[in-house]
């Protein structure tokens, strides 16, 4: 007969936190910044097809760092949740707060109940009718949520990026200015300039019609950073 192992819950949780954090710190980073017309996302991503930032619903976008398959599962969950709610009720009833809540529940449950926690950090962002009503919810692997303003940095270099952004970020920047601040921060922290074809850039643009999310092409990135 084998004796069951005893691990104190404190130790077990500590190990899980450590495991998740280490997983996340190995990945590349994503930045989100509010600018005059909405929210801008900048990420270092060598792939043009495997995205870190994507559309969830009309005004809501999603960004994830860490393990791709895990934040991809979360992204799809968000789209399903949003589309079912929007179809059952109305498009206006899909909110970033509701989605952030749902993500927080899911991640919290996975963190406590499953042996291996998700190694992800995600951001649920929504563009409001004016800059004061933008929403940025930063959700960690254990389900904790932070309601952020101005800018958010996630991923391996989050802390260093946060420091650079704190210095350079200003309220009400144009899209080009915000993009410059973002790509400069990534280059500065990474130690070398990130070429335009390694940048993934997307915006939630208040001026667009119903679907506010738009990917920014490589050509446009080059034009904007001139």
């Amino acid at each position: 007969m084998s004796l069951p192992y005893y691990i104190s819950p404190e130790q077990f949780m500590k190990d899980k936190h450590k495991y998740a954090r280490e997983g996340i710190s190995r990945g590349k980073s994503v930045l989100a910044m509010e600018f005059s017309d909405g929210v801008l996302f900048v990420a270092e991503n060598p792939s043009a097809t495997l995205h870190k930032v994507s559309e969830i619903y009309d005004k809501v976008a999603f960004a994830g760092v860490g393990k791709f398959n895990e934040f991809e599962t979360l992204r799809m969950h968000g789209i399903r949740q949003a589309d079912v709610r929007g179809y059952s009720y109305s498009r206006e009833d899909v909110t970033a707060r509701g989605l952030a809540n749902s993500y927080s529940q899911v991640l919290g449950l996975i963190f406590t109940e499953q042996l291996k926690p998700y190694e992800v950090e995600i951001l649920v962002a929504a563009v409001g009718d004016d800059p004061e009503t933008n929403e940025l919810y930063h959700i960690l692997y254990d389900g904790s949520v932070a309601d952020e303003h101005g800018y958010v940095a996630m991923g391996g270099e989050a802390e260093a990026l946060g420091e650079v952004l704190q210095k350079n970020y200003k309220d009400g920047m144009t899209m080009a200015a915000a993009l410059k601040v973002g790509s400069k921060a990534l280059s500065e922290v990474g130690g070398e300039a990130v070429p335009a074809d390694n940048l993934e850039v997307a915006v939630l643009d208040r001026k667009r019609e119903r679907r506010k999310f738009r990917r920014v092409s490589e050509k446009e990135i080059a034009e904007l950073s001139r």
Binding site: T49, H51, S54, E55, I56, T73, M76, H77, I79, R80, Q81, D83, V84, R85, G86, Y87, S88, Y89, S102, V106, L109
Partner: protein, 282 residues
């Protein structure tokens, strides 16, 4: 009612991960149109819709009348709906289920695009609509049939394409133009006389308006332009640049021009003369 979708790490077997209809059927079956909800009695019907190709895409249009038996249920119903950037549906048949089906179809296309990261091909969209019509068969049998026209710009092939359907989900691609609904035959007759391949857009729009006007003159179920209330047919076109609806004022101006043209040709009379009418001998 809780509308939360349970979190799936791997979707159940037999569920298409990109299908919005499957997802709703799993989680919110009551939100889907179904036979139980239908009262097959006198539900409003939508009437004449048409689509025709022009040199850079396709024009899609519909009149604005819905009828309930012999009365007018709506004077200004919309029958043309964009389903995504490069496609649109026009509806004929029972208005309620048709509008529901369009909404489900719109969500279906957007859902696929978001999950997969790219749009369905035009062919794929047309087939999806056929499946939805097949699912509607029990309702069609109860007299709540829906007959859509689907038109879009095929980005792969670089041309506008038109698909017509029957009530049970048969899907047929139409080379140049088609019109459906109670005034469909009349509208088709007009288009047939005027149509030629590679029409410029303005001319195609004019033909669409003329066809709807002719249908409204021949068919009680089709509403003509209502100058008094400023209600004009919905006309839109889809090209490589996407879907664009033509403004009410522009259509009003086109309609005025059409009337002038007909008056000049002596084709509009204040009263119809009835040759051979005679007094009844008492």
């Amino acid at each position: 009612m809780d509308s939360n979708v349970p979190f799936d790490q791997a979707p159940a077997a037999g569920i298409e991960p990109t299908s919005f209809s499957d997802l709703v059927r799993e989680n919110r079956p009551e939100a889907l149109p179904s036979v139980e909800q239908s009262a097959a009695a006198e539900a409003p019907h939508a009437t004449t819709i048409l689509a025709l190709r022009y040199d850079e895409g396709v024009v899609i249009a519909g009149d604005r009348r819905a009828t309930e038996g012999y009365s007018i249920a709506h004077r200004s119903i919309e029958k043309v709906f964009p389903t995504d950037e490069h496609s649109a549906v026009a509806i004929a048949g029972t208005a309620g289920p048709a509008i529901d089906m369009t909404r489900l179809f719109q969500t279906e296309l957007e859902h696929y695009e978001k999950i997969e990261g790219e749009q369905l091909t035009l062919e794929g969209k047309a087939n999806k609509l056929a499946q939805m019509l097949r699912a509607n068969l029990p309702m069609a049998m109860q007299g709540l049939g829906v007959i859509p026209l689907f038109a879009g710009y095929d980005l792969g092939r670089g041309l506008g394409r038109i698909f017509k359907y029957d009530m049970v989900g048969g899907r047929y691609e139409q080379e140049d133009f088609w019109a459906v609904g109670s005034g469909g035959r009349d509208a088709r007759a007009t288009i047939k006389k005027r149509y030629r391949p590679d029409l410029p857009r303005d001319e195609a729009v004019k033909i669409a308006l003329e066809a709807l006007y002719d249908a409204s003159e021949e068919d009680v179920g089709t509403g003509g332009p209502d100058v008094l209330r400023s209600i004009y047919p919905n006309i839109a076109f889809i090209s490589r640049e996407g879907y664009r609806r033509i403004g009410e004022e522009e259509i009003a101006a086109l309609f005025d021009a059409l009337l002038e043209e007909r008056k000049a040709a002596g084709r509009v009379h204040s009263r119809e003369s009835v040759p051979g009418s005679h007094e009844v001998n008492q």
